[in-house]
């Protein structure tokens, strides 16, 4: 079974700070990490490989330094890695990203399953996975919390919904986006780390994937950022002082005034 995992390198958000003076995001020197949701996809892919044999190819689109994220996935147990990187992709929105990834997947050998995290923590859109599936013309199931079984070219999964879960069957190849509940990602093994250090990473450019220039980068993105601004910071309110009983009484009065209770 061949599995492709799509990942994204994102800033390690614990360290992202707003510069109070300039009101800009300080990403300088911020550590980059594999999008946390993607680790569940990587783990699930490795588990499927262990169960059904085959190989796992991890793929990302990003700047050259995203290679580091790919190596982390190789260390966990992925077999091959592909970095899709080109200045021409700069400024891609979710549509252009989905197109670029779909074109890249077409250049990779056959696959049975494509796995992605449910969303990236920096963009939070959850749009790229389903978009890739549509562009490859394969079915997708989003928010998968469990893969029940795979047999006879069919996969049965639990799709998490707000009120429970749906049991859905899909033919393969297909694309799944997975949620946190699906597994606990492993840490890289020593052997994995040795392998990942030496592993060769394939590089794809706009030319390699034969991208249509009207569909990539900023020109190929239907959405454009018009402006960016800092939201008005939530300023603190009142401090309720006193002994606990007094504090409680004061709070209740406030909440009654606000018609909350």
């Amino acid at each position: 079974m061949n599995i492709i995992v799509l990942i994204k390198q994102v800033p390690a958000t614990t360290d992202v700070k707003i510069d109070e003076k300039t009101g800009t995001l300080k990403r300088e020197g911020v550590e980059a990490q594999v999008n946390p949701f993607d680790l569940y996809a990587v783990e699930e892919a490795i588990r499927l490989k262990e169960k059904y044999t085959g190989k796992v190819i991890v793929l990302t689109m990003g700047p050259p330094q995203a290679e580091k994220a790919l190596r982390e996935c190789l260390a966990m147990g992925c077999d091959e890695a592909v970095l899709v990187s080109d200045r021409e992709f700069a400024g891609s929105d979710t549509w252009a990203t989905a197109y670029t990834l779909a074109q890249s997947i077409r250049k990779i050998e056959n696959y049975d399953i494509i796995l992605c995290g449910k969303q990236a923590i920096d963009g939070d859109t959850a749009q790229v996975g389903p978009g890739v599936a549509e562009m490859l013309d394969v079915p997708h199931i989003a928010y998968v919390k469990k893969i029940e079984k795979i047999e006879d070219g069919k996969i049965t999964v639990e799709r998490m919904m707000e009120d429970g879960y749906d049991l859905i069957e899909s033919p393969t190849p297909c694309l799944l986006t997975v949620v946190k509940e699906i597994n606990n990602p492993r840490l890289p093994s020593l052997r994995g780390m040795m392998f990942s250090k030496k592993a060769e990473i394939k590089h794809f450019t706009a030319k390699t994937i034969e991208a249509d220039k009207t569909k990539i980068g900023i020109a190929g993105s239907p959405t454009n950022v018009m402006k960016v601004f800092c939201p008005p910071a939530r300023t603190g309110g009142e401090r309720i002082a006193g002994e606990p009983p007094e504090q409680a009484t004061k709070l209740i009065i406030k909440l009654k005034e606000a018609k909350i209770i």
């Binding site: 958000t13 979710t94 549509w95 549509e134 079915p139 997708h140 749906d166 009207t214 959405t223 950022v225």
Partner: protein, 404 residues
Amino acid sequence: MSKIYVISEKCFGCGLCVKSCPFSAITLTVRPDKKLKLAVIDEMKCNFCGACLDACKKYQAIIIEKDDISVKTVDKSLYKNVWVYAEQRHSEISPVVFELLGKGRELADKLKVKLCAVLMGNKIESRAKELIEHNADKVYVFDDEMLNEFQDDPYSELLSQLIGEEKPEIILMGATNIGRSFASRVAAKIHTGLTADCTGLDIEPETRNLMQTRPAFGGNIMATILTKNHRPQMATVRHKVFKKAEKNPNKKGEIIKKTFDGAKIKNRTKFLQFVADVSQKVNLAEADIIVSGGRGLGKPEGFLLIEEFAKAIGGAVGASRATVDAGWIAYSHQVGQTGRTVAPKLYVACGISGQIQHLVGMQSSDIIVAINKDPECPMMKIATYAIEGDLYQIIPEIVKELNK
């Protein structure tokens, strides 16, 4: 490839652009033969958003040359009306739909067009009236057995076809599990822009473009996004972001039944079964009051107190990531970036210091009450009411007051 550059003769190193750049792509650096430090743009970080161009209006020292690639553009005049996708789950219309109809009415009135709803399901036609009573001028109904349960293939294909026939200029959908999955597929199929989780929607009068404002980078910055050359303009919105439309039982509207040939509709996945989650008694996203516990509880049993508090005030129980990771409470209670985003009328944070990942998941709550020993922690600083002290002493007093 698009290019951005600084005309060094025009740049005086004032640094306004540095401040304006949300991606920290600009620095002031010493250039050879120049006395002043001038702006330098890191191409790897630049996203061509144009914020620096605005900042440098006075000097016009920064230029962006966008590619002259002739991208397919649509004749926008062919597209009109505002649509709301009327998501239903087990034949109940999702609450977010009524909020979208509220906002949709406002947008449609500004554009002087109709507000339409699209309803898809099985034995669902009777629900169309509800949509009309909540502002819809027209409801398109697909009522078919194939649509009994939500599946991406048939739903996205039918909606895409209807879009092709009717050409709406705007489509609003709920940012629910269904909405996010299926809107993405539709946008990919019909090649248009989709903006997720909008918190602000408005019309730019001159262009009729939809200005879609959404948080980016975990809510640290806001971005306003346009879909300039493609139609329809698609946006998803989370539940509780906009006000619900008021019901007007006298409102008149048109119901248009749509039929289709099932054999021609792609339907590759198969729905087998729905399993309701009974463990989740309270849906956090729906709750008007949430009482959350954090590491400050000190022990798993602390959640018994939180539960008692929540029960007394009629709210749901939330939790910080730290307590969930420690196994004190189930993940379904987690509020924050990797948990649920909530915006209740009242959010009580007990022993939660307020790391940014937690704050982005709850900071749009109407009233925030923080109970914490540390008066300097971020949560105490943003709280509407900050109560300093031992939560094990304060909460029982509050519960006592509530139960009076």
